[in-house]
């Protein structure tokens, strides 16, 4: 690792000011949970000259959880255990509680989860150049890409690693930011269009800090992760669903897929097909969820994900539909 300076400001605006690249520090980086930063530094993927530690900022709103808002610094464990969210948006606790390990969830934050870097093993190894670095080629395309995309909507074949981003997307979430000239960004706009920009982690400038996320309530919302390993694994595919119900009938649905595209992948064709369907009508729900792979263009090594995706979405829809009372969990 290269030497770096370290500072722990007491308020968010100081942190944002420090995070602006300047003559003293060309590569400042913000750190909260810091779960991944050290690994990236050790691998030489990042060489910050200033680390701005956000954990000493004295602002309780950064950690608070309310039925419609989560502080950016709240840990995944706090989200997973929140009673308020279990009622208003069970999809959040389920997806946060499925990430990584209990140890990591105790430290990793919501903002960090939204802004984490891809797990693409080519990108993670310093000896490989790739489109996300300075290269002209993607080594995963002809390489071992078993964990990569099935929707090739950009030249980079990485999948987005966040468990929470798709959940917030189906909840029409937005992030609160300080340090720039805007205070809110919709989750759907947080990540760049992979066809246009395949190198940026998000649209945020270096000095913008996520202080919280806001979202609509969705008592009938659920998350399903299909993992190879049940302890500490990234999903092969994940499914997200938030339903509006009138009795047993789905009046509107929002579904989203994780781990299949460079950013969370909404499935409007599934949503349209689910509208008006009874939650007991297994045949129509199946047919609707099969549409999840419309437009999929899998790689030779990711064909299996096209089998998994409709299953994940259907199970998420069924789990969301079965949440009639706040007492029932969302994760199958």
């Amino acid at each position: 690792m290269n030497p770096f300076a370290y500072t722990s400001p007491k308020n968010t605006s100081d942190a944002a000011a420090l995070a602006k690249p300047n003559g003293d520090f060309a590569l400042p980086v913000l750190k909260s949970g810091g779960m991944d930063l050290l690994d990236r530094m050790k691998e030489g993927l990042e060489q910050p000259d200033l680390i701005i530690d956000l954990t000493r900022i004295e602002d309780p709103t950064l950690d608070a959880i309310k039925p419609d808002r989560i502080g950016g610094r709240a840990t995944l464990a706090m989200v997973a255990e929140s009673e308020a969210l279990r009622t208003s948006a069970p999809i959040l606790g389920a997806s946060a509680g499925s990430a990584a390990t209990p140890q990591i969830r105790n430290v990793a934050t919501v903002a960090g989860n939204l802004l984490q870097e891809t797990r693409c093993w080519y990108w993670r190894m310093s000896q490989f150049d790739c489109l996300r670095k300075t290269g002209d080629d993607c080594p995963a395309r002809e390489g071992d890409h078993r964990f990569h995309v099935i929707f090739q909507n950009g030249p980079c074949l990485m999948v987005h690693p966040s468990n929470l981003a798709p959940a917030l997307l189906v909840l029409d979430g937005e992030v609160e930011v300080v340090g720039g000239d805007r205070s809110r960004i919709a989750i759907r706009d947080l990540y760049p269009d992979p066809a246009v920009d395949w190198q940026s982690t998000s649209v945020l400038s270096p000095s913008e800090i996520i202080t919280g996320v806001r979202f609509r309530s969705a008592p009938n919302s659920a998350f399903i992760a299909l993992k190879q390993k049940q302890s500490f694994d990234w999903p092969m595919v994940s499914g997200y669903a938030a339903l509006e119900l009138d009795g047993d009938v789905i009046t509107s649905a929002r579904t989203c897929a994780g781990a299949v595209a460079p950013r969370p992948h909404l499935l409007p064709q599934v949503d349209a097909a689910l509208a008006g369907v009874s939650i007991d009508d297994d045949r129509r729900i199946r047919a609707a969820c099969e549409l999840a792979v419309d437009g999929a263009d899998p790689l030779p090594g990711t064909v299996y994900k096209t089998t998994l995706l409709p299953v994940a979405i259907r199970r998420a829809v069924n789990a969301a539909a079965s949440l009639s009372s706040p007492d029932q969990g969302g994760d199958a």
Partner: protein, 712 residues
């Protein structure tokens, strides 16, 4: 999660020498008080790191030695070559005063490599890819004479050792001597090997490995990291620390090699196997040998065999080293799945077919118990289930030889009644320390609390390396002999003082008795000693009155659930029956069995080294994407020690890892009706199998299709 259900403990109670003894080092390990080799970090010492090739094959173009040497803290840069033949291959090493200097020095060295074309697996070999050769004349005749025949090919991946304590050593000068704190499976192996690099006589080298964090066969040699550490210690005369980091541990410390096995087998309608040809290809990376697999194992009757057709295939990856039962889990996977496939073709219960093909009396009885405990009666015919979640049952077996090696154990009786058991042999986590202490305590008749064990130090009496599962079988006769000598010495003194017949005296829980009469407490008898009594028991590695009778055999039964929409396999339960002669300590013996099952289940479902096909770089040299079974993936494991009144201590370290993957693969076959012939049993492979037609039946039978009772 693993539960050792208390109600099932009764299975093993009374089976071992010490049923209730707990690990003597449990507290030290749990609290961190135990100092492993990797913990030996001193303020003033040098750090060593190898300079490694980042690609499968590459040529070094340039490096900036001057810049590296100009880096603060860097002491020495040694470069001895410019060819890299695999990712992790080393061309030299760098020595620095501290870790920071090491890291910055390596960066300043700025090694530039030109990547070259490389080969990355067995299937890069034309013969391996191609069709099978014709069987030998005799085997061909037998196969042709059989009612049916078929060909199949099976494969297993590279499994890396992933030792929790990485490979390496720390060397510190001590006057004329060098003390070597090593993470090793062979205290005395290190003492013999490191001298060449240190330039020291064997008598000036002390090896300390009191605590070792794992070793499944890859820690019999000091490795390149150890050699570099030795050279740096010699040239500097200072303390030197040379341990692999996590990535290096995956790249260059050996592995269980991959296997491709092609089989041509002829069988009759009743399941009798008339003849078979096995062709095996071992993936040995840059090594020329070490890829062999034990298939068939000899446990089952295969008729006229044409086996021993093995070739090791070289490619650009790190080479293998012994790994817990080398060649056996991969061989068992092939052989046991093949037997289940034959059973299915003939419409037979695979357990019934095994009973006919297996002539071990002990395993015949184990089959009964395994079937009973796993609930075999709930098994339905292979391929007869529908629905999303399907349950499967499978069986695997093992056996092991009676290897042994010379060993000495010293027992010192102190005048306060305290006993010291002294053995230079290492405890790599198996419970060797506890086994020796508990054996001596039980043999003499004193509580374990009276015993301490000094272990893992080359100044102590010599013993074998931990390999081939010979360590406990070899040290136990020596420990029994030493315990008996110590006991006799103390009893002789008591008899003389009390004018009793020493042969009539016994010791029960620290009290010396004559018949039912208490004579004197052990401590009081020892108090009469003017100085400590030292006795040494010796086993010559061949014969001994203490060797006794016994064998290592095992049967495991697995119950799995397969999610047929996602291809996920969940191992719910494994019954692991294992004989090991006379078990010494129930808890550590059970732990060995459970560890074998966990490692075997991990091998069955998750573990595989992934090489980039174009560059040969290892894509998963870390514990994130090199997937190892975690707590949520762990089945309920019921370890069953099988005593059968055996008297001799036998192998236990390796055999329990042999049947697990085979049993799980068979259970998956039973659940989904198609064999998955490639490990690991990944979801994509299970889904691909499910897309294939149901496995062929060549003998018509009425299937049993009752849905199984849900026992989850």
């Amino acid at each position: 999660m693993t539960h050792q259900p208390r109600d099932l403990r009764a299975i093993n109670s009374g089976q071992s020498v010490a049923d209730h003894a707990s690990r003597l080092d449990g507290l030290a390990k749990a609290t961190g008080a135990a100092r492993f080799g990797r913990d030996q970090i001193k303020k003033d010492m040098l750090w060593v790191r190898l300079i490694r090739c980042p690609w499968g094959r590459a040529k070094l173009d340039s490096l900036d030695r001057d810049a590296a040497l100009a880096t603060p803290g860097v002491v020495e840069v040694v470069v001895s070559g410019d060819d890299g033949d695999y990712h992790g291959d080393s061309i030299g090493y760098l020595v620095a005063r501290n870790r920071r200097g090491l890291e910055r020095g390596l960066r300043a060295l700025n090694a530039k490599w030109t990547r070259l074309d490389c080969q990355t697996g067995i299937l890069d070999d034309e013969q391996a890819r191609g069709p099978m050769d014709a069987p030998s004349e005799a085997a061909a005749k037998a196969i042709d004479a059989a009612d049916f025949s078929f060909e199949a090919r099976y494969s297993t991946p590279v499994q890396t050792h992933s030792s929790l304590e990485t490979h390496g050593l720390m060397i510190e000068p001590d006057g004329e001597n060098s003390i070597v704190h090593a993470s090793t499976q062979g205290t005395f192996v290190v003492a013999d090997q490191i001298g060449r690099f240190l330039g020291k006589r064997r008598s000036k080298i002390v090896v300390d490995c009191e605590y070792v964090g794992g070793g499944f066969g890859s820690k019999f040699q000091i490795g390149k990291e150890g050699a570099a550490g030795g050279l740096a210690a010699k040239s500097s005369g200072e303390a030197v620390y040379s341990f692999c980091d996590r990535e290096e541990e995956h790249l260059d410390t050996g592995n269980r090699p991959s296997l491709l096995c092609k089989v041509n087998v002829g069988h009759d309608a009743d399941g009798t196997i008339r003849g078979a040809r096995f062709e095996t290809f071992g993936g040995t990376g840059v090594s020329r040998r070490g890829g062999g697999a034990r298939v068939p194992s000899g446990r089952f009757e295969f008729g006229t065999l044409d086996a021993r057709n093995h070739r090791d295939v070289q490619f650009n990856a790190g080479g293998p080293r012994a790994m817990r039962a080398p060649g056996c889990p991969q061989g068992a996977f092939v052989e046991e799945l093949l037997i289940d496939e034959i059973a299915h073709r003939c419409g037979l219960d695979p357990l019934g077919l095994r009973r006919r093909l297996d002539d071990s009396d002990r395993r015949q009885r184990m089959y009964d118990v395994a079937a009973d405990l796993i609930g075999w009666e709930n098994r339905v015919d292979t391929g007869s289930q529908s629905g999303t979640m399907r349950t499967g049952y499978g069986i695997g077996t093992c056996d092991w030889g009676k290897g042994r090696a010379p060993a000495k154990i010293e027992v010192v009786v102190h005048p306060d009644g305290h006993l010291e058991v002294r053995t230079g042999t290492q405890d790599i986590g198996t419970g060797q320390r506890t086994a020796m202490g508990a054996l001596v305590a039980a043999r003499i008749g004193v509580p374990l609390a009276n015993i301490s064990v000094a272990i893992g130090d080359s100044r102590l009496p010599p013993g074998p390396a931990s390999g081939g599962s010979v360590c406990t079988p070899s040290t136990a006769p020596a420990a029994m002999a030493a315990a008996d000598l110590a006991r006799e010495r103390i009893l002789a003194g008591v008899a003389e003082r009390e004018k009793l017949d020493a042969t009539k005296l016994t010791i029960d829980d620290g009290v010396i008795m004559e018949g039912g009469r208490k004579v004197v407490r052990w401590e009081d008898a020892c108090r009469r000693l003017s100085e400590p009594v030292s006795v040494t028991g010796e086993f010559d590695g061949r014969a001994s009155a203490y060797w006794g009778e016994g064998s290592s055999e095992g049967v495991q039964a697995a119950r799995v659930e397969v999610d047929c929409e996602t291809g996920q396999v969940f191992v719910r339960e494994v019954i692991a029956i294992q004989s090991c002669g006379l078990p010494l300590v129930r808890k550590t013996a059970e732990s060995q069995i459970m560890g074998g099952v966990i490692q075997g289940a991990s091998y069955a479902l998750f573990e595989e080294q992934v090489l980039d096909p174009a560059t040969g770089a290892v894509l998963n040299a870390n514990l994130e994407s090199y997937k190892i079974l975690g707590s949520e993936d762990c089945p309920r494991i019921i370890p069953v020690l099988w005593r059968d009144d055996q008297t001799g201590v036998r192998a236990l370290g390796e055999p329990p890892v042999v049947p697990t993957a085979a049993a799980i693969a068979n259970a998956v076959f039973n659940a989904i009706g198609r064999p998955v012939r490639d490990l690991p049993l990944r979801p994509d492979r299970v889904l691909a199998a499910l897309a294939e037609p149901m496995a062929e039946r060549v003998v018509a039978v009425a299937p049993r299709t009752t849905e199984p009772e849900n026992r989850a």
